[in-house]
């Protein structure tokens, strides 16, 4: 009897990903072996580096902050059936908005600067998402192309801005003036010494708020309902009287604005100035984060921490085992995406059969007991 039952929820959500993760680390182990180092030790170092001490945890969370924003950005668009791979560009351009406001207000107080900078970043990032959205909605231009193009355009724009417009005079580096204290988002370490010197800052609170907000938006609001309808069946949404073109534009704007928050974490939170390529591909990682998190805020939160841990743990690994290079870290990350994301089905059939067998046996036992009881 080849009949298979779907897995119990807990197995689907916890067991399967766990197995896949283990698998990914196993393969990564081989890579580590190649350079004659001990894989188990490597894993140990990664885990320690990511969660073992205050600074490590802080860095893990700092990276996770970025990935939450870019992951959510991708997910929001995805729920509306749009594949926004422009997260990099949207976050990058948002940096412009953030720095302009922050530079203007850095003599005031962060309580004034931060919210306004968030709005500015949201607007700049949002516009960078809205344009592709508009072109999709009214001209049918495929967002995948337009967002790819807008990533390149953003890069060019920012190089120009940083070299010709915003560049601070007394430095060779193409970067803006440094923000005064009033333009900086407070570091968590100021309240929680545990975090040592790590750059994790109040932006992470915003990120968590965004996770909750996104959940509410997508599953608890009427707009969210409409976006999901468009995403699942654009003909039905049109029949229902939703304006597909408007929804497309709204989704892309929200998505871009969300990605834009990376700028708050980096510019106001960590660098305290605008530097070249500060996004460092967080937008790209966000795609993986969202896909592995199945576009659900909880999943995205967890995936973001996972990737944050890999970044920080990987860095630890480089220090402890100098033979390990940053490319190996990249390989390990890729393997994790592969196994937990693309190949998540690898062990499903086996598991399902396992569960069927179990249940069958249990039934058998049960009936056996039952009959025994009845006899006695």
């Amino acid at each position: 009897m080849s009949a298979r039952r779907p897995l119990p929820r807990w197995a689907d959500i916890l067991l399967l990903p766990a197995i896949n993760l283990a698998m990914a680390f196993l393969i990564s182990g081989l890579v580590v072996l190649m350079i004659g180092e001990n894989p188990l030790y490597a894993v140990q170092v990664i885990l320690y580096g990511a969660f073992g001490y205050g600074d490590g945890v802080g860095y893990t969370l700092y990276y996770a902050t970025n990935f939450i924003f870019t992951g959510l950005a991708f997910a929001i668009a995805a729920h509306a059936g749009l594949f926004n791979i422009g997260g990099n560009g949207q976050a990058y351009v948002a940096g412009l908005g953030a720095i302009l406001v922050a530079l203007a207000l850095d003599q005031t107080h962060w309580l004034i600067t931060m919210p306004l900078a968030m709005i500015a970043a949201g607007v700049f990032g949002g516009i960078w998402g809205l344009i592709p959205g508009y072109l999709q909605a009214k001209r049918g231009s495929h967002v995948v192309i337009t967002t790819i193009m807008f990533n390149f355009i953003a890069a060019a724009l920012m190089v120009y801005m940083l070299n010709r417009v915003l560049k601070a005079p007394n430095t060779m580096a193409p970067e803006s003036e440094t923000l005064d204290i009033g333009g900086r988002v407070p570091q968590l370490r100021e309240f929680i010494p545990f975090f040592g010197y790590s750059p994790v800052n109040l932006t992470i609170v915003v990120a968590i708020a965004f996770l909750v907000g996104a959940y509410i938006l997508i599953w608890r609001t009427k707009l969210g309902y409409q976006l999901r309808t468009l995403g699942h069946n654009p003909v039905a949404s049109r029949y229902a009287g939703m304006s597909n073109s408007k929804l497309i534009m709204i989704a892309m704007t929200l998505s871009g604005a969300c990605a834009g928050m990376v700028a708050i974490n980096e510019v106001l939170g960590v660098q305290n100035r605008l530097v070249l390529d500060f996004v460092a591909d967080a937008g790209f990682v966000g795609i993986a984060v969202a896909l592995i998190g199945r576009n659900h805020p909880i999943g995205i939160g967890l995936a973001a921490v996972l990737f944050g841990a890999l970044y920080q743990g990987g860095q630890e690994l480089q220090f402890v085992i100098p033979a390990v290079t940053r490319e190996m870290i990249e390989v390990i990350q890729a393997l994790i995406i592969l196994f937990t994301g693309a190949m998540e089905g690898l062990f499903r059939p086996a598991l399902e059969r396992g569960f069927v067998l179990m249940s069958v046996e249990q039934k058998a036992e049960a009936t056996a007991r039952a009959t025994v009881d009845s006899e006695s």
Binding site: I85, H142, T146, I329, E330, V331, I337, L338, A342
Partner: protein
């Protein structure tokens, strides 16, 4: 606008269009069969690295090319296994394969050659040579056509000619052969293919096999033809531009060629417009010039191409039983 500049532009256009064309055609086979492929970049990197490595070690460029293609095929098959057999998410598969290739190439390169992931520079027979078409010199004298033939068409790497021959070939395969018929069908309505007694899985694997070959050629072009040796991430995002070209041309072979030529031309233009005094506007910031190809692409797309609707079954794994 003098004749030399025109010839030089035409030349550059062909050179720059070639890797895009090969990659876009690669994507065409995959996506026409219903497998979205944002892993082109990864395959190209893998092949570029493998080709350069083998060429450097054996000193035989053809062996390099072969191995490059094989490695690209293997990479494609890994991606295919995830998205066809395991019915995994095709986008994640693409992203993963790309990251894997980016990391692996540099890592292995560093372990083997310890030049920061670069392979040794290729010289002589370890690198493809530009080939002159027959009678290039004799015909050079002929007015107009002469220069075009001898200066523009002649004297390119073999892969350039392969790429442009692949276009009519692909068109023929797609519209005139059994394989092509089934390929188009399986990307539109796999159920119809299945009920017609054809294995959807096999059909898709065959398609991405070709994808592997073409992506491999495209990648090798970077490291053993246009360039001389592999450098980290040397495909510099061309895989994504190729994907854009594919969508731009609505997944049709001949338009793909023209789109890639257009992109190549825009890039060649950009290169020649940097820090040049333009009529009216004068000197524009170099960054504006560098962004020009991308801006023009968007404008053209929005202005003239309109809505691109991909293969209907694209992106979704084929599952019979819910």
């Amino acid at each position: 606008m003098d004749i030399d500049l025109i010839l030089s532009m035409a030349n550059a256009t062909l050179r720059l269009a070639t890797p895009l064309l090969l990659a876009a055609l690669a994507g065409l086979y995959s996506e026409r069969s219903g497998i979205f492929d944002i892993g082109l970049e990864g395959k190209m990197l893998a092949s570029a690295f493998a080709a350069a490595t083998v060429a450097a070690v054996t000193g035989n460029v053809w062996l390099g090319l072969l191995v490059g293609v094989i490695v690209s095929i293997l990479t494609t098959m890994l991606q295919g296994f995830a998205s066809i057999t395991l019915k995994g998410n095709q986008m994640i598969a693409g992203v993963a394969v790309t990251m894997l290739a980016a990391g692996m190439t540099t890592f292995l390169g560093q372990t083997w050659f310890s030049q920061g992931g670069r392979t040794p520079q290729l010289r002589g027979d370890s690198r493809l040579q530009q080939i002159d078409l027959p009678f290039a010199d004799q015909l050079a004298g002929v007015p107009i056509l002469g220069p075009i033939y001898s200066e523009v068409l002649s004297g390119h790497y073999i892969l350039v000619y392969v790429a442009f021959l692949a276009v009519p070939l692909t068109a023929y395969v797609l519209y005139r052969t059994r394989f092509g018929l089934r390929l188009r069908a399986v990307g539109e309505n796999p159920k119809a293919v299945d009920t017609a007694g054809i294995s959807v899985t096999m059909q898709r694997y065959q398609a991405i096999f070709i994808t592997g070959i073409l992506a491999g050629l495209s990648g090798a072009y970077f490291s053993i033809a246009q360039g001389a040796g592999f450098g980290n991430e040397m495909t510099a995002g061309k895989g994504y531009v190729a994907l854009a070209a594919l969508i731009f041309s609505k997944w049709r072979p001949v338009p793909v060629m023209f789109t890639c030529l257009l992109f190549g031309f825009l890039d060649a233009l950009q290169i020649r417009m940097q820090n040049v005094d333009l009529p009216i506007v004068g000197q524009v910031p170099v960054q504006a010039v560098q962004a020009l190809p991308y801006i023009l692409t968007v404008v053209l797309l929005a202005g003239f191409i309109g809505k691109a609707v991909g293969p209907r079954a694209g992106g979704v794994p084929y599952v019979k039983e819910r």
